[in-house]
């Protein structure tokens, strides 16, 4: 069965053809780099996404600090994780890259600051 798929790993958005044979082997074409293959395989088995959102910050130039998940998150967990960040409140100054929420919902996933503020 051939499936058409758009690789979302980077903005190049390669349009890929993904073929799965009877033995379950996956053949990918149309990708510009190897990450496309990895993406296609995951998308068929356990789709994951990068999550970026914000947390509350005090004494910063803005009242929200942008953060992202340090690893890709299983699709089904995305909304719960973002909701769980409601409880996080940090205070400026914060360096880009520092962890602002650890092991959120026991998922092993951390959220890190994506700017200094």
């Amino acid at each position: 069965m051939i499936k058409e798929m758009v690789c979302v790993v980077c903005p190049v958005s390669c349009r890929m053809k993904v073929d799965v044979n009877a033995a379950g082997d996956i053949f990918v074409s149309g990708n510009k780099c190897k990450r496309g293959v990895v993406y296609a395989e995951k998308e068929l088995t356990n789709p994951t996404r990068n999550v970026s959102t914000t947390v509350r910050i005090e004494q910063g130039v803005h009242s929200r600090l942008p953060v992202k998940s340090d690893v890709e998150v299983p699709k089904a967990l995305v909304l719960d994780l973002v909701k769980a960040l409601d409880n996080v409140l940090v205070t400026a100054p914060i360096k880009m890259g520092s962890v602002v929420a650890e092991n959120v919902l026991d998922s092993g996933i951390n959220f890190i600051a994506t700017r200094s503020m």
Binding site: V6, C7, V8, V9, C10, P11, V12, S13, R15, G30, R49, N50, S52, T53, T54, R56, H62, S63, R64, P66, K68, K75, V78, L79, V82, M96, T114, R115, S116
Partner: protein, 377 residues
């Protein structure tokens, strides 16, 4: 510092420049650090209010007040602004709850202000798509996206991860025909459009929403150009430049979204580097004049940047262009006068995605025109 990147907290930046998938603020911070390391002087909170042909400009901030300075060279990187509800034909009242997607993005991502709870989005530009996801993540309900064209104007990846992931419908060939509500938006009516983009009677659908976000195109900010006598290009909306990114006014250069609207920040950086280098050479007196080779959009191409190439030995030229429609199975041909210079096969080309082709400078030096064309196979 960082411009629009500071509000683009999603990832997808820097794949080409850093071979990493960064968020907007992270990408910006890398360059801010570089700038600080290099010890460059900068001013924040400072708005340039005037620019003149002799490269003098006036800026103002609360600390210094109005200051006039003359640059040996000036680079314009003012970014772009969004087309507004007023620029498209939005019929009905003018209630609260109608704004551009980028405005809602700055409200949400910088200060955590949600501008509405039930949202519809007009236009499938990237900012709109990304806001569909952001608003959903923050607890709003996004009821749909309507796009006038039969194809999306945003990147395919954003359709997948911002709409499909959340089951938000995309209505292609649809537009909002009326907004209802006098104090606050109460509902909108959308309809399908025919090939002339006219609403088809009987296809109306009503959505009860308190917010309508617009993502209907970006226009280079050309606020300062008229005074300085800088010529603009009718299709890009930004200045006309040569392969050094120099405008018709000597010593004034332009790059980034203020030159033409980009979808990849990496290419903005490349342009900026090239414009910066040219400006430095200009200041050193290293830039010499030469005859111009014009670049022309042929069949299927909306515009080509740069608009001119100087007839002199220089770095290879990167031609940036956009196609005017969705094309499958095509060749992109580059003609030097009428001779075919280069040809590239493409499976899919869409207007939402800027294309780039690199051409060796010495290959075109004897031409008077370079034309880029789409050939349907």
């Amino acid at each position: 510092m960082g411009g629009i990147l500071q509000q683009c907290i999603h990832s997808g930046f820097g794949v080409e420049m850093f071979k990493e998938d960064l968020t907007g603020p992270e990408y910006a911070e890398r360059y801010i650090e570089k700038m600080q390391l290099a010890g460059l002087e900068f001013r924040t909170n400072s708005l340039v209010t005037e620019l003149h042909e002799d490269r003098t400009l006036v800026y103002t901030n609360p600390i210094e007040g109005y200051v006039e300075v003359q640059g040996k060279a000036v680079i314009l990187t003012m970014g772009c602004f969004e087309r507004t509800p007023g620029q498209i034909n939005l019929y009905g009242d003018r209630p609260a709850g109608i704004m551009t997607a980028g405005t809602a993005q700055s409200f949400l991502n910088k200060d955590g202000f949600l501008v509405g709870k039930r949202v519809f989005i007009l236009g499938s530009g990237d900012i709109g798509l990304i806001m569909a996801r952001r608003m959903t993540l923050e607890g709003a309900e996004v009821l749909g996206v309507a796009e006038l064209n039969p194809y999306s104007s945003g990147l395919a990846r954003n359709i997948v991860q911002c709409l499909d992931d959340f089951d938000i419908p995309l209505y292609l060939s649809h537009t909002v025909i009326q907004v209802i509500g006098s104090s606050r938006l109460e509902s909108i009516i959308i309809a399908e459009v025919d090939e002339q983009k006219q609403p088809i009677p009987g296809t109306e659908k009503t959505f009860e929403v308190d917010t309508l976000l617009l993502s209907v195109g970006l226009i280079p900010d050309r606020h300062l150009t008229a005074q300085a006598g800088i010529k603009l290009h009718p299709r890009t909306g930004g200045p006309i430049v040569n392969n050094r990114y120099e405008t018709n006014v000597p010593g004034i250069f332009a790059a980034g979204n203020g030159l033409h609207v980009h979808d990849l920040v990496d290419w903005v950086s490349l342009e900026g580097e090239r414009a910066g280098e040219s400006a430095a050479r200009y200041v050193q007196g290293e830039l010499t004049d030469a005859e111009l080779i014009s670049t022309e959009p042929g069949n299927g191409i909306i515009y080509v940047v740069p608009h001119y190439v100087l007839k002199q030995v220089d770095e290879d030229v990167r031609f940036y262009f956009r196609v005017d429609n969705v094309y499958k199975n095509v060749k992109v041909n580059i003609y030097k006068d009428d001779e075919l210079l280069k040809s590239l096969k493409k499976n899919v080309m869409v207007p939402a995605e800027m294309e780039m082709i690199k051409v060796a400078n010495q290959d075109i030096l004897d031409a008077s025109r370079v034309r880029i064309e789409v050939e349907v196979l």
